[in-house]
């Protein structure tokens, strides 16, 4: 007969052995589970320690110092208040009422959109926006409104901005300490040189200049005058790139002979087909001043309007992919590997998709050679495919990929050991390293989720240009880059993207442009300071 089970057969207080056995019958199973969990923890820890023992010190990204910038109050001028100029001025702590309203509404609509919160949590940089110069009245007025907008980190601004019709009038004002230049590239060199001569510190948006010779002239003037110059490559503030730098500096990738960097965009906006402001006309735009340094001059009209608002599409004002997007990728690699200027560059491409009258290519590739570093840097760009490829540092012992791994790895990096690695051979053979899985991943803010929505915003986020993290807190690298510049002025030191690395960027981009335009491989002669 089968025994039937019910609960609590024992009675009273006599807790016999049988009772206890039944009560604790499953305890050994719990023991088995925890024993296995402990084994797994040990194994994971062993793996981790084996990798991390020579993989990068685990220290955090540099903390942002103090919430209020110390030292003297600085007065800033902005020259060129277009899309990028507005972002830079926001980085300094001033947004237009329209932007604030829109950002706040976006945050209401989409709770994951942190643009507004990130702006309001910026440090108060102890500056005023006192000078505004833009050749388009609408934008100049917007900048004036931003200078007095009280919705900002740090509260009510100390001073209101004044508009200057020409940047030279602004530079003549002794009350202005420093200027931010965000004009189209063809104006950069003249303004930098004049500003430096007038004793103003300069933050200039990339690309540094439109031509090779302008870059040399800017370099000499900045050196001569000793101003604090920052080039607008905010990637210098991105902590995953700092992590990448540590990894390369410690030789964890082994010899790196090939680096591949990429640009992929697939939208009219991403291809610089920007909106033509309906308020733009002969009366609101100073077209003659705009085109003054451009090689080709055209009368004001429909074509001029297109060129004014979509200037990146013409070599008269910029250098297309080279100065806009390759410059970022180049500077990121220069930050990670300290490459300097290339010896040889060959570039090619064409206008394959945007046959809209532009003269800059929409598919562009450049090969930069560094014979003394045993390295080739390959750049490949298209404006008609969003295939996200990321940037890859190919080492003999391991490969490091930054971006390009999908949304889950937004601007993180992944290091994977090479199956034929010399350095890791023993560990691969003993099974400590599995080359199918990364030996190191870094995804900053992985516990934080960004509501980065538009395709172009996502493109920049993947490159680490929209947000970075400091001790887990989300920061806008543009703000950090402006802060680095202002702190450098106050502390009389060089900022992270100074004129030296700025010159590397300009040389790399202009050599690529020169090669594309002439159809030949070009060489940099550092003694004669010429492209030959």
């Amino acid at each position: 007969m089968k025994e039937e089970h019910t609960d609590s057969k024992a009675s009273g207080t006599d807790l016999d052995r049988r009772e206890i056995l039944k009560g604790l019958a499953t305890l050994p199973v719990v023991g088995v589970l925890f024993y296995n969990i402990l084994r797994k923890m040990k194994r994971d820890a062993l793996r981790k320690s084996n990798l991390l023992s020579d993989l990068i010190s685990e220290h955090q990204a540099p903390a942002v110092i103090s919430s209020k910038s110390p030292g003297e109050h600085l007065r800033l001028g902005i020259i060129g208040y277009g899309g990028r100029g507005q972002h830079l001025v926001r980085g300094a702590g001033f947004a237009t009422p329209e932007w604030v309203e829109k950002a706040a509404a976006n945050a209401q609509k989409n709770k994951l959109d942190k643009g507004y919160a990130t702006f309001m949590q910026q440090d108060d940089l102890n500056v005023s926006l006192v000078g505004v110069c833009d050749l388009f009245n609408v934008r100049a007025r917007a900048a004036l409104a931003a200078s007095t907008n009280e919705i900002r980190p740090g509260g009510k601004p100390k001073e209101a901005a004044k508009r200057y019709r020409h940047y030279t009038e602004m530079l003549a004002n002794d009350d202005i300490d420093a200027v931010i230049i965000a004009t189209p590239d063809h104006w950069h060199s003249r303004i930098i040189i004049d500003a430096a001569r007038a004793g103003k510190h300069v933050y200039c948006e990339k690309a540094m200049t439109r031509t090779f010779q302008e870059a040399i002239d800017v370099y000499d003037t900045v050196k001569e005058t000793g101003i604090v110059f920052q080039l607008g490559h905010q990637n210098r503030q991105v902590d995953s790139l700092e992590k990448a730098r540590e990894i390369v500096q410690q030789g964890l990738l082994g010899p790196v002979n090939l680096v591949e960097v990429t640009t992929n965009r697939n939208s009219p906006w991403g291809a610089w087909v920007w909106d033509i402001d309906p308020k733009g006309n002969r009366r609101t735009i100073d077209w003659d001043t705009f085109q003054e340094p451009a090689p080709t001059k055209i009368p004001f009209g429909r074509e001029a309007l297109k060129r004014f608002f979509r200037w990146r599409c013409w070599y008269d004002y910029g250098t297309g992919l080279s100065g806009d997007l390759f410059s970022h990728e180049f500077d990121a690699v220069n930050q990670v590997m300290e490459l300097g200027a290339p010896k040889f560059v060959s570039a090619s491409g064409g206008i394959y998709f945007y046959k809209d009258g532009r003269d800059v290519p929409d598919v562009f590739q450049a090969i930069l050679e560094y014979p003394d570093k045993d390295l080739t840097l390959l750049y490949s760009a298209t404006l008609s495919s969003n295939k996200n490829r990321g940037n890859i540092f190919m080492g003999h012992d391991a490969t490091m990929q930054i971006g390009g791994a999908g949304d889950s790895k937004i601007h993180g990096l992944v290091v994977t050991a090479d199956p034929e690695s010399t350095r890791y051979r023993e560990r691969i053979e003993s099974g400590i390293i599995n080359t199918r899985y990364p030996i190191y991943t870094y995804s900053p803010g992985s516990k934080q989720i960004d509501g980065v929505t538009s395709a172009t915003a996502r493109y920049f986020a993947n490159k680490g240009l929209v947000y970075t993290y400091r001790e887990g807190k989300r920061m806008d690298p543009t703000h950090l880059h402006i802060k680095d510049w202002l702190d450098s002025i106050r502390e009389n030191r060089q900022p992270k993207c100074d004129i030296e690395v700025g010159l590397h960027e300009a040389l790399a981009c202009h050599m690529a442009t020169e090669s594309y335009l002439t159809g030949r491989r070009v060489e940099w002669d550092p003694d004669k300071r010429q492209i030959v």
């Binding site: 089968k2 009772e19 499953t26 589970l33 969990i37």
Partner: protein
Amino acid sequence: MGNKAVPVSLKYTNNQLIGLSLLRVLIGWHLLYEGVAKLLNPYWSSAAYLLDVQWIFSGLAKSIVANPVVLGIVDYLNMWGLTLIGLALMLGLLGRYASIAGMVLLLIYYFFTPPLLGLEYSRPWEGSYIIVNKNLIEACALYVLYVFPTSNIIGLDRLIFRNNTQPTEDLLT
């Protein structure tokens, strides 16, 4: 819990008892390790899962992610909920409460990401599902364990509640 639908004390054959207890311990094992694995991973967060939530709870899930404090609480509840429910099921501690709590948790997972036609998830399932998935089945199994409790026969409940369950048994026998 002594309502009519669910008698407190049941008589099982050996095989019935073994089967039900085994089921309880295995589900407990699964939930416990899910919880412990999350506790041990400092980078774990439910955010990625919540962002993938579809259907009627999608808005709720996104507002949880948008608020770091709430997200932190949800993460905490998840990790400790799974761990404690799993441990309770394995040890047979407050077995029927644990069954119900586990069932509710699994149903939340199910209704947050149900495998319904037309819903696309960015993370792949580890199997092929239509309407029914393992969360639903495991929740149903916990319902079975709630109706056919075993912790008062094999488990700590036997030692803890041995006195108060006595009269109930008399009534039933």
